[in-house]
Each structure stands twice: as structure tokens, then as C-alpha cells.
Symmetry: C2
Amino acid sequence: MLKHGILGLLNYGNMTGYDIKTVFNDSLRHFWQAQTSQIYRELRVLEKNGWIKATHVEQESRPDKNILSITEEGKKELMRWLEEDSAASPIRNPMLMKTFFRGECSREENIQYFQKLQEKETVFPEGSENTDRKRQEYGNNIDNPVRALYWKFTSDFGLMYDKMLREWCMHCIKELEVLKNENITD
Amino acid sequence: MLKHGILGLLNYGNMTGYDIKTVFNDSLRHFWQAQTSQIYRELRVLEKNGWIKATHVEQESRPDKNILSITEEGKKELMRWLEEDSAASPIRNPMLMKTFFRGECSREENIQYFQKLQEKETVFPEGSENTDRKRQEYGNNIDNPVRALYWKFTSDFGLMYDKMLREWCMHCIKELEVLKNENITD
DNA sequence: TGGGTCATGTAACCTGTTACATGATTAG
DNA sequence: CTAATCATGTAACAGGTTACATGACCCA
């Protein structure tokens, strides 16, 4: 997956490994994160597959860099991946795993637990005003309007997810509050 | 994460590795999936940590089995994990990764793409009637009402997620349809 | 007679995390 | 003076996937 993400970014234009890391961890962090160590490892594989090529550039006031560019083979592979009918994403949600077993803790503790969750497990923890500003900035920075639209789609998903998460937390809290009133003895 | 999930299940009662696999892949599949190979590997680690112990039971008409049970140390570790203020789940969404780069495909293809997504990427692909029935069955099968409630919470999350996913897909399709009408030339 | 269930695993591989390592320049 | 930025990685480990392997019993 990361392989094809990197390929997609290099299809937008040439970059260094450092640039790729920056784009993932700044602009795309609402759907993917990647460590530097993993990026450089995948880059080696991509190069071995003939999907990208590296051009070494010497610099004076900065460390030397490798400028990566996508090859024709790489573009083919990118399109193959995009059009391929991929399997559904595997379901594995650490937050729900813990929630499931939280029945072992007291109801009061769990009301607090859900209150914290709705702040902590959000895609955009910065608050909606801040997120709106970042969204506008990013939209203006992309020259290609179609690409800007698809970025917005992924970002919309994040906003809708966060809204749903808050609603779910409030729903769980409400059910726990009902229990409280029904049953005086905890 | 899987380690503590297994610990949580063994806290409910003794089980074999096979039972654990069945519970994960049947009743808990809406938030976690695990391969047999991984389960048996983790069981060895849990035993090495002294959190569970195994009792070998010989059988005649069935293969011998190892009945796993949680130790006092294991219960402590389970509670430590439950109460620990865990980090937010890492954000890594393969579906959004592909969506982001789908700008490279035609608008028509992408309308179809989103139409498929809302069926394919759901937590409960069986349809809501079927899911409702399974939810009731499961709820009735758990003798402990608190545990049944927390199972329902995780299952509610799945239903709300699926609803949100469908809304998001429809939202994206709508925006693509608007583009169609604005711009006659694709 | 063929497929599902019970029951155990191993081996190789791929993906992601954590910690470490270097080092100059530049902005506050 | 200190922190951030640019720029590259390695090593070890943890977690998850895929493929393989065995074998009896039971039900249709």
C-alpha cells in the first residue's frame, strides 16, 4: 500500500525521500502515516522493481540528495493498482478492542473513558476551525483542481468520521447514564 | 493488541486456541480479525510471560487440545492495559489511499468506484436485517448483561460507521455529478 | 465420497515501529 | 545558544499474511 502511495506522489512530480515523508506526515496524515525508515526501505524496493529511478544531486550547504522520479513502468503499475478491484480493508480497530473489554471497569470510569475518546480518537484533533483553515490552504496550494477535489474527498471522510465518533461516544454515555438511573446499586 | 484481546477472552473463561480463533472471526469480526498462525504464536508469548497457562487434554475422537486459562498475573496485566491511557489508534486507511489517487481516473469510472465502495467497505456487509438478527442472537447468548452491552457498543459503532460510509460515498458522487453538469467536456 | 468441524502448528515473508546515527545551516 | 530544517539511512524487533501440513470424525 505504501509502495503505491509513494508511486502516486512521484507521479505528481519528482521528490526526495524527505519530501515524501513531509507530504505524508503533513498533508496526508488524515489517512496515512509513515516512518522515514520505512519510506527509505520501500524506495529501494521500488527502484529494484524499475518503477522509480534516483538521480544523485550534490549540494553544498545541505546534505546531498536523491531526487526520485517515476518511470514509464512505474506509471503503468500505478494505473494497474488504481484500477484493480482491491479487497476490502482489513478490520482491526484497537480502540474498539479496548472498548469491548472495558465492561470489566466500573460504569463511572467508562463514562469518563468515552468522554476522553471523542477528543482523542479523532482524525483531526485540532478542532474544526483550525481544520477548516488547513483545508482551504491546502486546496489553494494545489494547482490541479481534480487532485484538490480528491484530497478534499479524503478530508471530508475525516470530518464525517469525527462527527460519527462523537455521536457514538455520546450514545454510549447516554446508555450508561440510563443504567445509572435504573439501578441505584452500581 | 491481539495479546490483550486474547487475555480478555480468557478472562471470560477457559478456551483452546481454536475457540479463540472462532470467537474473533465470528463474534468480534466487526472490530478485529486474526489468523490461526498468529494466535498460536501469541499464545506462546503469553505463556512465556506467565499470563496464561495451558492444560493438555487427551481426546479420543478429536485431536488432543490445550485448554488455556488466565493466571492471576494475567488478570493484573489485563486490568493494567484496560486502565492505561493508550495512544490514539494509528491512522492508516488503504481505502482512502486509493481514493486520493483516483483523481487519475475518469469521473465516470469514479462514480462507479464510489458506488461499489459503499457496499464493499462496510463493517457489516450482510445487510442490516441480517445484522440485526445476528445482534439479537449474540445479545441473548451472553449471560452477563454488562458484557453484552459492551459488545453492543462495538457493534453500534459498526452500524454508525457503515451509515457514515454510505453518506460519504453519496456525497462524493454528488460532487462528481455537479462537475458533470458544469463542464460538458469531460 | 466429499466437505465441514475440531485441533494443532511451522516457515517465509511483508509491513510497521522504535531507537539510533550523523551533521551542516538557518531562524528566532 | 538552541531548536528546527534538510537529508540520509541501519538494526532489531513486533505484528500480520500466506501458504503449507496433518488427520480423524461426522453429516449429507
